[in-house]
């Protein structure tokens, strides 16, 4: 019974906050609404018995939204929302697409004959996740590691203003380096 109440509170909060993300004028409010929505998602995961993953989601979302708020202020033309303006395009088409996607998903959820529950949850789901990632799902883990490494490299490449090819030419042989402001010692 208490589980049901917690589920409904979290579910309603998650959906309501998700809607408010795109209705607030102020970017700070939108970010916090998204944070609330994703924290409720983490709460639902905790409620389902996945303690480790739920806590990971809660911690990660808190940090991620803090970073997102900084980028919001940097890149949005109207971050405070003091001059309310519409930043939407193709609202009608998108609404039609989203309602039909939700209808398709919901009918699938309600009409599909879901298989019966197989076995019970292990006494320690975190342990079974770890054993799985270090055993049969090792390929997944390795792929995720490579993807994260590729992300680090590509973000640095994309975010660098002037890399070595800009400074030393295509063959990296230009000396001294072609800098807008020359460094000390003529280098």
């Amino acid at each position: 019974m208490s589980e049901d109440i917690v589920f409904w509170v979290l579910a309603v909060l998650a959906v309501a906050a998700g809607v408010m993300v795109f209705r607030f004028d102020s970017m700070a409010r939108a970010t916090y609404a998204l944070l609330l929505s994703l924290l409720c998602v983490g709460g639902e995961v905790l409620l389902l018995g996945l303690d480790y993953l739920g806590v990971v989601i809660v911690l990660m979302m808190t940090l991620e939204m803090a970073i997102m708020a900084v980028f919001m202020v940097m890149y949005m033309m109207n971050p405070a929302g003091l001059m309310p303006m519409s930043m939407l395009h193709n609202k009608k088409g998108a609404a039609v697409i989203c309602v039909s996607v939700f209808a398709a998903l919901a009918s699938g959820v309600l009409l599909a004959r879901w298989p019966a529950r197989r076995g019970g949850p292990p006494t320690d789901p975190t342990m079974s996740l770890g054993m799985s990632l270090m055993g049969p799902q090792m390929l997944t883990m390795v792929t995720l590691g490579m993807a994260l490494f590729a992300t680090i490299v590509s973000t640095v490449v994309l975010a660098t203003r002037r890399g070595r090819y800009d400074r030393f030419g295509d063959d990296l042989r230009t000396r001294p380096a072609d800098d807008p402001v020359p460094g000390g010692g003529g280098r």
Binding site: M27, L38, E44, M77, I97, V109, L144, T155
Partner: protein
């Protein structure tokens, strides 16, 4: 609380996120829509784990995958916004349409 209700919640979050990703002009807001969609996927994966296959850890691995996709999406998204803004002062999706021509 049941599998149907949790999957409906996941579908609702996914659809709201899709609406945001399709309508928002600002690239940062578009990424918030993508995050909501991934949040829906997390709810769905954990519900499937809890109600259908709690004896294997595959559902949990799917949640780990979704969380990683979230992190990668944020990092690469902001790097692309930074690169776009550096080269052409663009922060809106409609202005970044060079490939259209």
């Amino acid at each position: 609380m049941s599998l149907d209700l949790l999957l409906l919640l996941a579908a609702a979050l996914f659809s709201i996120g899709l609406f945001g990703a399709l309508t928002q002009q600002s690239i940062v807001m578009l990424m918030m829509g993508l995050e909501l969609m991934l949040g829906g996927i997390i709810v769905g994966a954990s519900a499937i784990w809890h109600y259908i296959t709690p004896d294997t850890a595959d559902g949990q691995v799917l949640v780990v995958l979704a969380v990683t996709v979230m992190a990668v999406e944020m990092a690469v998204g902001f790097a692309v916004v930074t690169a776009l803004f550096r080269t052409r002062e663009v922060d809106m999706t409609d202005m970044a349409a060079e490939l259209r021509e």
